[in-house]
Amino acid sequence: MLATEQDKNRLITAYRVVQAGILATLVWKISFFSYANAIYNTIEISDSFFPDLLRSPSILRVSFLGATAATLLNMLATSNAVRKGCCITVMLGLSILCIHQGSYNDMTFVTAWWCATWSCWVSYRIDQDSHRTLLQKSAFLARAMISMIILGGAVGKWTGEYWSGQVLYDIYFVDRDFWLFNYLRDTYSEEELKVIATWHSRNVVMIETAFGLFYWLLGNRVAAIVGIFILCSIAIFSNFLLFSVLSCLIALSAVGYFASQPAERS
């Protein structure tokens, strides 16, 4: 196989992996979304801050289902014209979800929006760049986006309430039904739990800060391994629902793996 063809295959595979990540992000909490759908149909909140359209449950439903269907099609598409159309549809749907009254607070849609932006850019560049160059450029942009998103989490935690562990203690250690926190509550006293929460919180702040500031500087292969490992560990040790926020970022970090393959093989 020619090197250029191999590069094209790698690029398309990386692109499809990211679509699979966005799809996982959108469907991970499907049971919650169907519950939300029922609630929004029966409990309506009239708040003049949001325009009428961005309070409508129908708009929420169409945006979510439209973005999900377009992502699935994007993953399977072989024509670049179809990919571009899907990317625009996904970006439109996710943009609405990011500012709708019923979904604005869910970071799932923000991380998916950044991954959709990456996808849109790649789909428009496929015909214009050499595939090898595009792989390198897209791997850099993927790292920069992940760095920025994690840095966003870190900066918000640079405050005393996180350093003391107060916030994470109340959110996770007091009553969260999750294997790790259930085990800790069964094993340690309240005072000991507070100390564990403090060091857990400090650990989170330091890892996110280092990740956010330096991840973009790593080489392709190292970045892929480090990104997948750290992002998976955040969900595994905190809350499996976080996979809905992180799946697309895990897939985006895998782009570095495809970009790190050797160039010349025929």
Partner: protein, 177 residues
């Protein structure tokens, strides 16, 4: 390869790519601007206050609020909420039984998001929500009244609430954490 040399080569390559491809340049600059905004948050009380007002759905206008959605905010700031059946301050603190709890981000989700609506608004009665966000000595407190609509009040199971913004207060505390 030494880190400084690696960094120099990477930056050189970025500049070359940006010169050849305006769309790559635009993407990189957008990410860079978001990073600058984030890094200024602990240094500028205005940016921190702006973000807390964003969290409280109290930005100056909806377009200003909506424009900020790409800025990532996972588990940001110390956000607390408290839900009461009576207006805050009406009941003597001795008999006040609600406890403030922490939330990860966007604390107004305690009445806008599905799980919270299901928990607090299903009964169709008046509710008062107090939300606070604090960051490095700064604090914003907002109070909301969720008032059931008279017209639809008895049409079980459908509920309709009106959001009434009671107050928003910003405190600048001199001490830095």
């Amino acid at each position: 390869m030494r880190p400084a040399r690696h960094l120099a080569i990477s930056l050189r390559r970025l500049i070359d790519w940006s010169k050849q491809d305006w769309s790559f340049c635009l993407m990189t600059v957008t990410i860079f601007l978001v990073v600058i905004w984030l890094l200024l948050t602990p240094l500028s009380s205005q940016i921190a206050n702006h973000t807390m007002l964003r969290f409280h759905l109290q930005s100056r206008s909806f377009p200003i609020w909506a424009f900020q959605f790409p800025i990532p905010a996972m588990y940001n700031f110390a956000n607390q909420y408290e839900v009461d059946d009576y207006p805050p301050g009406l009941i003597d603190p001795l008999f006040h039984d609600s406890q403030p709890r922490f939330l990860n981000h966007f604390p107004a989700r305690c009445f806008t998001f599905a799980d919270a609506r299901g928990e607090y608004l299903r009964a169709g009665t008046n509710k008062w929500f107090t939300i606070t966000s604090s960051y490095r000595g700064q604090k914003v407190t907002s109070k909301f009244h969720l008032k059931p609509s008279e017209t639809l009040r008895h049409s079980e199971p459908h509920r309709q609430y009106e959001v009434i913004r009671i107050s928003t207060e910003t405190d600048y505390v001199a001490t830095k954490n």
